[in-house]
Symmetry: C2
Subunit: 365 residues, 2 copies
């Protein structure tokens, strides 16, 4: 049994017991949805980050980890079309991390991102642990009935994705090859500002030392990809627009990888999909490096996780209402929802093939 | 800096930033409190349980761990005078636990307790980890403005505690001495039903093997104390009554230990307290065993953690309205809130001394 089967089984067990009519959506979406008042629904997401499993302790400056811990849960709220309000964080730390400056740096990164979106840290818990472990909780809300679920895509809806794909997974590969981020500076704001961040502050060892001769453009691309992995930008603005304007018929954030997350959305909605390979917004730094670093931009875009972009569907009648950019982040039209019998497919020129769910799983059997 | 100093510092940082008027109570109480509608406030608690730190993996049957994970967060909601509604659980598991029956047993225990209080599991997260780690989240509510805080005790208020004290800490000591629970059966209901549970199902090794000759009454007392540690009973009914009837002026649950938790309450309220040692409801099984097992009932009652009883204060004018029992659980009148200059004291006959906060801390420096 893999983790998704187990979660499905748990959902069946709990929905058989469900007694509260105030639960709009329980297990199985990016966040739980509750009716809190006659005009508003509440969203709560919880994300567990475990050292050496969900992040590389040694390669992740604590300040960026604090940023990422909050970012992944903000992304969940965005994927529901919600507005984040408050957060909580429960953290387990080894004694060594407690005694060092870890916690101060972690919360500096966390609170800087919270401030950016007007989110208030309101509680949590603290324990000792053998490795760093973080549970990140964000509470948000939507107008009543406006939460955008995974389960409501319909055949004929058009598929979109924010930003670009594959960069975070490329960053992870570079970390595994020994690359390290030069600066603990958190990348602020939208994609267009990427070049303004990650400025060198101290000498770094990076993947280039272990491979071909260095060059400045490669170095910059590597740093950008590391930040894409270590300092993801949740698409909070897009989430709010898509929810409040009722533009998305369904939505999920790309945490496991486009292929897996599209499968989740299609399974929940009982639909199929076809993706145009040529329309996928490949990360430009991956494209820049691909000839020299054994990175396959298309494979990374299809199966690489942790981009924390939003994957959403739009009814044809609403296409003209879609903004071009929100907070400087553009979107790409990558495919179409089909009848379920069609399955989940990718088309590239005259070829078409089944897209397997090859994204990240913690447990596969 | 110990963990309470750090939490205090984080609270100062966050409250300086606080912009939302909908946060009724943030960092520093048993749960965060939010205004959700014109007539209701929302409560959210989060508790992190780490193997080998917050529980002994080998001594804790997964079913009891599932029970305890939910119980500790239900206790937090009770300590706010709230009614629990929904829950979430994020869990990190080693591959070995995933492949064994751990998760099924864990959720059987968790969901049985959830059913008992009409709480619905609505989401969470799953990750791999080196040791078992659980973040337990419970969402509850109270009528607007009725959340019972730690910070609102006043001089002259009378101090009460539900149930009995010291049993959970004695259970932990017995586990450390090698005692093991015989049956994974979760102790259901109130104290008066204790004797109906923990029935032998298989041979067990227990502390008695390592010490004096066995006897049936000792054996039964040991099993009760193990269950007191492994299968705590959250005082949900008392929490609801004290909150809805506006009987408690302040409240906290006893997780770190009476001495530490009373200090937390007094610090937050800016008051002192005096406790009558003779009035403390010592756990009867600890008293039964104390002569033979080096357990000190008074020290365990004062400083032992994890009883998950409610410690609360009542204005003199409301004493006559206090029920004697709720759900079969009685309360004890153990002392009085005083002026802050008096400090936190214990009185035993003609002696009186300062009560140090000697309960549990994860990080002391």
């Amino acid at each position: 049994m893999n983790e998704f089967d187990f979660i499905r089984q748990l959902r069946e067990q709990t929905s058989a017991r469900k007694t509260s009519t105030r639960i709009v959506c329980g297990i199985g979406d990016d966040a739980a949805v509750f009716r809190q008042s006659p005009d508003r629904d509440l969203l709560i997401s919880s994300d567990l980050l475990v050292e050496s499993v969900d992040f590389h302790g040694e390669a992740t400056p604590p300040r960026l980890l604090g940023h990422k811990a909050l970012a992944v849960s903000l992304s969940d709220i965005a994927a529901m079309g919600g507005r984040p309000l408050w957060s909580m964080v429960s953290i387990g730390l080894p004694q060594s991390a407690w005694a060092s400056g870890f916690k101060e740096e972690f919360f500096a990164g966390y609170l800087a991102l919270a401030d950016r979106f007007g989110v208030s840290l309101t509680g949590g818990d603290l324990s000792q642990s053998q490795h760093v472990v973080i549970d990140s909780i964000v509470i948000g809300e939507v107008d009543k009935g406006r939460a955008v679920l995974r389960s409501t895509a319909q055949s004929g809806d058009q598929i979109f994705v924010t930003g670009s794909l594959g960069g975070a997974a490329a960053g992870l590969k570079l970390i595994e090859l020994g690359a390290r981020v030069r600066s603990p500076t958190v990348r602020e704001g939208d994609d267009s500002q990427q070049a303004a961040d990650g400025r060198p502050q101290e000498p770094a060892r990076d993947a280039s030392q272990a491979s071909e001769p260095n060059d400045t453009a490669d170095d910059e691309a590597i740093q950008q990809l590391l930040l894409r992995q270590l300092s993801p930008q949740p698409r909070v603005g897009w989430g709010i627009v898509l929810g409040e304007e009722q533009l998305a018929t369904s939505m999920i954030d790309i945490s496991d990888g486009l292929s897996s997350d599209l499968h989740h959305l299609c399974d929940e909605s009982g639909v199929g999909a076809v993706i145009e390979a040529a329309s996928l917004p490949l990360d430009e730094n991956v494209v820049h490096l691909c000839g020299r670093r054994a990175l396959d931009p298309l494979a990374l875009a299809l199966h690489g996780g942790e981009d924390f972009e939003l994957l959403f569907t739009v009814s044809p009648k609403n296409l003209s209402r879609l903004p071009k950019r929100v907070d400087g982040v553009s979107i790409s039209h990558i495919g179409e929802i089909t009848e379920p019998s069609r399955g989940v497919r990718v088309r590239e020129k005259s070829h078409e093939w089944d897209l397997p769910a090859r994204g990240f799983e913690h447990f596969s059997g």
